[in-house]
């Protein structure tokens, strides 16, 4: 082993690499999109993530927080993050501007959306609120490889139309005849064309054969219990239903233990779990 190689091995799993905010876009009154480019070219090229994985982002002087990656894995130059202004790190991020530097570790999570296995199947996406962020990466990937998949159904619910994320893309997807988009809000505004109510209400209407369908779910903690109940009524196969879970994380590398669910850690074993796994994880939902 060369000295260089040995030094590299001693690199700390807690050391972030430096990245630059290349673009900022407002997605709603509480969410912003950040385009993040890793400064070092070699590191950037080696940064290959899978839909459903996440990064740990550092705002120096404030701390680190986990964020899932909503952009397509095919975009190699930079990746996007969708961040709600809700905590210390996200609050500080919302005050940052283009050109500012952040720290990035990752991508993390062995449990990602099984986009390879999903091929030749129908793909049903059920997202609530900010839950659109992790699943958007999968939607992007599936649409970029559209011929590999059968029907694509997107069910997306939010409090009101303003809180819907990626509105321009939703519109674009609605126009396509190879994507079925069903939007629902709790509080409609005037002229609202979609459904009214929680996204759970739209699950009974899913009309694709369960043997050839994968379902992907992401939303606020309260949503899962009800969505799962409806999916079970439709007899979707638990090994083909995938849920992305949120937990407190301090490290992202399976050491700090805060994200434990039963015998699994959300950061290394998840954050995406199959419904079959979740049934065996007490307190997951």
């Amino acid at each position: 082993m060369t000295i260089e190689a040995k030094e590299k091995e001693k690199d700390s799993i807690y050391k972030p690499f430096i990245a630059t905010i290349k673009g900022i876009k407002e997605l709603s009154s509480t969410e912003k999109q950040f385009d993040i480019q890793i400064d070092d070219k070699e590191t950037r090229e080696a940064f290959n993530f899978k839909p459903g994985q996440f990064v740990e982002l550092t705002v120096f002087g404030l701390g680190e927080a986990p964020f899932s990656i909503p952009s397509s894995p095919n975009n190699k130059d930079y990746f996007e993050l969708c961040i709600r202004n809700v905590g210390n790190v996200s609050g500080a991020l919302h005050k940052m501007k283009e050109g500012d530097k952040v720290g990035i570790r990752g991508p993390f999570g062995k449990g990602h959306f099984p986009y390879e296995e999903m091929k030749d199947n129908n793909v049903v996406i059920v997202a609530g609120g900010l839950g659109m962020a992790p699943v958007r990466s999968l939607i992007k990937y599936v649409l970029e490889n559209r011929d590999d998949y059968k029907r694509v159904i997107i069910i997306y619910g939010s409090i009101n139309p303003d809180y819907l994320l990626y509105k321009d893309e939703l519109e674009e997807w609605q126009k396509r005849d190879d994507v079925e988009v069903r939007l629902t809000v709790d509080e409609p505004c005037e002229g609202w064309q979609g459904e009214v109510g929680v996204c759970t209400n739209l699950i009974p209407g899913i009309d694709c054969p369960v043997d050839e369908s994968y379902v992907v779910v992401c939303g606020p903690p309260v949503m899962y219990k009800f969505v799962i109940k409806e999916l079970e009524k439709k007899c979707f196969k638990p090994e083909k239903v995938f849920l992305s879970l949120e937990r407190r994380m301090e490290c992202g590398v399976g050491k700090c233990n805060h994200c434990h669910i039963g015998d699994k850690m959300t950061c290394v074993d998840g954050p995406v779990f199959s419904l079959w796994e979740i049934r065996n994880l007490k307190e997951a939902i």
Partner: protein
């Protein structure tokens, strides 16, 4: 494993040599009932005949309560440097269950991602074990941790007039050859050692029924009444975590210094028993009540890592029983699970 004999009259010279040459950490008397592992400069300070230490020695050295992970400098660019500090150290007089606790941490800090902050110190640690008398709360015998088969370089068992020495590594063998003459263990020495271990094991009076816990725990997992009773008095203070030789939870802090240009990330021990443990940004708490937190602690200690490593994350040292202000007793609770199932 090699087996040697160290005569009592050579013991002092052996230890003096180690103290002279190494950063030497051993047990010393703090007050009437408690010892602590600290760096020692003379053999007079060393007292291996201890009953209790509050903070587990190996955890304290390898995974300190506060540890700098990263230093950074903010300028036109941001420079980030990992901080991995260690020095050759001899840990002398650690007992078998604490060695087994360290063996657990060894596995844990290698799983999925290798934690160099832990391993750099671990690689430079020479471990010399010695048996100590178990307290009345110690249930190491039930947890199979009263004897160490790995994780040490030398292990000295006190047979009265001589030490029966197990040499586990080349590093241990170097020490055997360095200071004083050790003899090869004879058949008689082995026989005396076997008798010694029988007598030693007989000193462990606290027994738990751990074998049946694995499945029984799942059966009563949803029995709210049972867990409310168990966790009724818990203050959610986290004392049990701090004294545990295998607890590894931590928080990471990021602090800018007053110059506003340099800063550091440090990790500090956290506790899975405190209410904020499962709190995320936005205010949702994934484990808001103390019954659930205690249940998860027992799962982590007694199930999760038995699946992953074939080793419990509890060595039965009894420290948490002694530290708990609410008198929550993990040994009694393990046995209560069995009783509850058999009702």
């Amino acid at each position: 494993m090699q087996y040697k004999i160290l005569k009592k009259n050579k013991y002092q010279d052996f230890v003096k040599g180690l103290i002279e040459d190494y950063n030497f950490i051993g047990p010393t008397k703090k007050d009437k009932s408690v010892h602590d592992f600290v760096p020692l400069n003379s053999i007079e300070e060393l007292d291996t005949n201890y009953l209790k230490t509050t903070i587990p020695p190996a955890k304290k050295i390898l995974f300190p309560p506060n540890e700098k992970l990263i230093e950074y400098e903010i300028g036109d660019e941001i420079k980030v440097k990992p901080v991995i500090e260690s020095s050759e150290t001899v840990l002398f007089g650690i007992n078998a269950w604490d060695i087994n606790g360290m063996n657990f941490l060894d596995k844990f800090f290698s799983k999925d991602f290798v934690d160099e902050n832990y391993w750099d110190k671990r690689d430079k640690l020479t471990v010399i074990g010695m048996d100590t008398e178990p307290t009345e709360n110690n249930f190491a015998l039930s947890m199979d941790t009263e004897y160490a088969t790995d994780g040490f370089d030398l292990y000295l068992h006190d047979l009265g007039d001589r030490y029966f020495v197990r040499v586990n590594t080349p590093k241990g063998n170097e020490l055997v050859e360095k200071y004083v003459d050790f003899d090869d263990a004879s058949e008689n020495d082995f026989k005396d050692f076997d008798k010694y271990m029988d007598d030693y094991r007989a000193q462990f009076s606290n027994k738990v029924n751990i074998k049946s816990f694995y499945d029984n725990f799942e059966m009563i997992y949803n029995d709210e009444e049972f867990w409310k009773k168990i966790a009724k008095n818990c203050f959610s203070c986290g004392s049990c975590n701090l004294v545990c030789p295998t607890c590894f939870c931590f928080n990471v802090k990021d602090d800018l210094k007053l110059d506003l240009k340099t800063g550091e990330k440090t990790r500090e021990w956290d506790s899975c028993m405190i209410p904020e443990y499962g709190l995320v940004a936005g205010g949702h708490n994934f484990r808001p009540n103390k019954e659930n937190r205690l249940k998860q602690r027992y799962r982590c200690k007694l199930k999760t890592y038995f699946d992953k490593f074939g080793q419990y994350a509890c060595v039965g040292c009894g420290r948490c029983i002694e530290a708990c202000l609410a008198k929550i007793n993990i040994a009694e609770d393990i046995n209560s699970v069995k009783k509850e199932v058999n009702v």
